[in-house]
């Protein structure tokens, strides 16, 4: 709303003590407010310079001096301490570099207030540090920033003062140092979070999945591992280490040549398409709910039963009663907060959407469930519920493959952890020997930016 895309129903916005009317992003920009959205609004096919100077280029029909353009753009980047060759195309930059470009773009239009929406959600550890350095530089130049994030440790580290929102309500503003992480998560969830990473011990059964020398051209190299019934196997890796490729490949979701063998309960299976994988008892919770996990404009019921239409129907026709019963039961079992099973999933919160994706896997009677970054972009409370769900699956003897870039999460929840770096499994940690710091360092050390 502050950037002018949405209009307030009531209330006023004051800038430097003056009430302003922000009716469009352009009006907001003239007031010195710029928003950098989670999905960056850069144009990948244009050069860095053109992107940074975009607003200046798009006003009027003046002749543009290419030389001047490049000079101004590189000057801004240098001020940020990030000199790039501004003639490169933006699409070739890493997300971290693009973020810097987006900030430079805001600066050339004299932004005094920059709103950053989840800027770190796609960054790895080192990039985050670098990004924070840039933010501190901006602060010293007298630019104010609103840093929106659900990563608690980051806001605690970087922010001077902190406002907590829950379901659109303001729960108070705190000065730096006034809050601990535990207290903050309590505020967000609305009750004390006793255990951030709940975990249960349970007896592991026999081998359910064996992967041998799985390779995908350029992305994965000879990955091998074994997953047992009732085990949570964590796979950690930075962005681009090949986690998602591994998840998709096991599920038959990668149409290119895949080498290696996958054995389900000792039986060799082919990785040709998701339909076959589901029939064999695999379920995938993909990293991108919106694009890959859910049919967003359809109901909870529609989504939950989509993978299991075959056994839910008689001679092609879906048995309505059975379908409603199963959906209702899963909504109840997984604690999906909704009006009823006919609610459109688009209007659910991120955590509840994720539970719908998991429910879809459960109806399909899966023996192996692959979760790719299941807790990305959801709040602390919903995270704990997802972990509880993982534990429940574990007790039922399902093999759980948990892929994540969050080392703390894996150390808390997984029984065993594999470290994936640039498509290779470099080390395996049992639960006893897993130390957060050691794994974190291992993951980061190999990431060359």
């Amino acid at each position: 709303m502050l950037d002018g895309s949405l209009k307030p129903d009531e209330g006023e916005i004051f800038i430097h003590g003056k009430s302003v009317n922000l009716e469009s992003p352009k009006a907001a920009m003239l007031q010195g407010i710029t928003m950098i959205p989670q999905e960056l609004d850069l144009l990948p096919h244009l050069s860095i310079a053109e992107n940074i100077m975009f607003y200046q280029l798009s006003v009027g029909y003046k002749q543009v001096s290419w030389k001047q353009l490049i000079e101004t753009a590189s000057q801004k980047l240098e001020e940020l301490g990030e000199p790039f060759n501004v003639k490169q195309r933006v699409g070739k930059l890493s997300i971290a570099q693009q973020q810097i470009v987006a900030i430079a773009k805001a600066l050339v239009s004299d932004a005094r207030i920059i709103i950053l929406d989840e800027p770190t959600s796609a960054l790895g550890g080192q990039d985050i540090e670098r990004f924070f350095t840039v933010l501190r530089k901006l602060k010293n130049q007298g630019i104010s920033m609103i840093f929106i994030s659900h990563r608690l440790n980051e806001v605690l580290e970087v922010a001077d003062c902190l406002t907590v929102l829950r379901d659109g309500c303001n729960l108070g503003t705190y000065q730096k140092g006034a809050l601990t992480e535990a207290r903050l998560s309590e505020l967000i969830v609305g009750r004390p979070v006793s255990d951030k990473y709940p975990r249960v011990e349970c007896k592991q059964g026999g081998e359910v999945l064996r992967v041998e020398n799985l390779s995908i051209g350029g992305k994965l190299h000879k990955v091998s591992f074994v997953l047992k019934e009732g085990e949570v196997l964590g796979i950690v890796g930075a962005l681009g280490a090949g986690k998602s490729e591994l998840a998709l490949a096991l599920f038959g979701g990668i149409p290119v040549v895949v080498n290696g063998e996958v054995l389900l309960k000792g039986e060799k299976i082919s990785l040709s398409c998701p339909a076959k994988a589901i029939a064999k008892g695999f379920a995938l919770v993909p990293e991108d709910r919106r694009r890959m996990g859910l049919i967003f404009n359809k109901s909870i019921r529609f989504n939950i039963t989509l993978s299991s239409l075959k056994w839910l129907s008689r001679s092609g026709f879906v048995i309505g009663k059975l379908e409603r019963e199963i959906s209702t039961r899963l909504v109840y079992d997984l604690g999906i907060k909704c009006r009823d099973i006919e609610q459109i999933v688009e209007y659910l919160s991120g955590g509840n959407q994720q539970k719908v994706v998991i429910a879809k896997g459960l109806v399909a009677r899966s023996r192996v469930i692959i979760l790719d970054e299941p807790t990305r972009g959801i709040d602390v409370g919903a995270k704990v519920e997802i972990y509880n769900l993982i534990n429940k699956l574990k007790r039922q003897g399902v093999g759980v493959l948990l892929l994540s870039s969050d080392v703390n999460e894996l150390c808390g929840v997984a029984d065993r952890i594999l470290v994936l770096i640039q498509g290779r499994v470099v080390r395996e940690f049992s639960r006893a020997e897993a130390s957060e710091r050691e794994i974190q360092q291992l993951v980061l050390s190999e990431v060359k930016v």
């Binding site: 469009s24 398409c273 998701p274 339909a275 694009r291 049919i295 092609g316 026709f317």
Partner: protein, 329 residues
């Protein structure tokens, strides 16, 4: 507390949002038409109108399947003329095939042409617009090349049954439309295949990862569209008891208009056949009223354009797309 005015406003809003908004448009049309042309509301004209609508409506049901998957089928008119020639000229006149067998063969031939479209889209990866543009050119082109645009006369009288016959006073084309409608409705609402059609049209990638064989679904939609185009050809040629070179000309455009007026999203995944059939009725009404009113036939296309514009503008308004700032797209 809501005031009376606010309540009625809310009711109107909800009504506009519902799938039955198209019925309001239809009602408005009927009222206007009755005022302008009194003979419009006669029983004879009503039956004539409904018979005409059955041909367009059946084709529009096929088009709805395709559009629900996020595609488009430009070849419907071409398929109609080619199957009509194949049925009437080759099978009946040249080879002397039994009428009933021909009636079954025509939809099957249409389905084969639809399968060609589906193959090009699914296996060769062509965009639906291009693939069916090819289908349209090939079908209508072949019809012109093979049959030299001649008019086929002298079909056996029995052949007129499908277009002009009645059962218990109800014209057979209307009965065929009702039958096709019920079947298609059941499939889309209650069948696993129908579910998959909506899933593929809404988000093909997520559907595929949920185990839906997206290629099969898309292929089938074009086969269904072709099959129903063949059935339309049977009704149209039977009603005229002849086949002319211009049969089914622009039918694909009329059916697309019908589907859109009926509220089905051109992006796929939303909508249904009820709206499409009503849309077909509205499209046919425009021609009917203007003809009765003695308006130049050249104006009919303009009128269709205006109605289509109004329907889409209404659709965009009720979905809240109208007059948005560019940035919020």
């Amino acid at each position: 507390m809501l005031h009376g005015n606010a309540v009625s406003k809310k009711i109107v809003k909800e009504l506009l949002k519902s799938d039955y908004a198209v019925l309001i448009v239809l009602l408005l049309f009927i009222i206007i038409a009755t005022f302008i042309v009194p003979s419009f509301f006669s029983l004879r004209n009503m039956i004539n109108l409904l018979v005409r609508t059955s041909a367009t409506g059946i084709a529009a049901i096929g088009m709805t399947f395709v559009i629900l998957t996020g595609g488009i089928d430009l070849s419907i008119g071409g398929i109609v003329v080619l199957t009509a020639y194949i049925g009437a000229e080759t099978l009946i006149s040249d080879l002397g095939v039994n009428i009933w067998l021909t009636a079954i063969a025509m939809p099957v031939v249409g389905a084969l042409m639809g399968a060609f479209n589906g193959f090009n889209i699914v296996s060769l990866g062509m965009p639906p617009f291009i693939a069916t543009l090819i289908g349209m050119n090939l079908a209508r082109g072949l019809a012109q090349f093979l049959y030299k645009g001649k008019t086929v006369f002298g079909l056996p009288e029995v052949y007129a049954l499908f277009g002009c016959g009645t059962v218990g006073g109800v014209p057979i084309p209307i009965l065929i439309l009702i039958f096709v409608f019920i079947l298609a409705f059941l499939v889309l609402q209650f069948n696993a295949f129908g579910r998959r059609v909506y899933a593929v049209g809404s988000n093909a990638k997520a559907a595929w990862l949920s185990g839906v064989n997206t290629q099969n679904v898309i292929f089938s939609a074009y086969v269904i569209s072709g099959f129903l185009a063949g059935l339309t050809a049977l009704i149209m040629s039977s009603r005229l008891t002849s086949v002319v070179g211009g049969l089914g000309l622009n039918l694909e455009l009329d059916t697309i208009a019908a589907v859109v007026i009926g509220g089905t999203s051109l992006f796929g995944g939303e909508g249904g056949i009820f709206g499409s059939v009503i849309g077909a009725l509205i499209i046919e009404m425009i021609g009917n009223v203007l003809t009765l009113g003695g308006v130049s036939p050249f104006f009919q296309m303009v009128a269709k354009g205006i109605v289509l514009w109004a329907a889409v503008a209404l659709d965009m308004t009720r979905k809240g797309y109208t007059f948005r700032k560019f940035g919020s797209f």
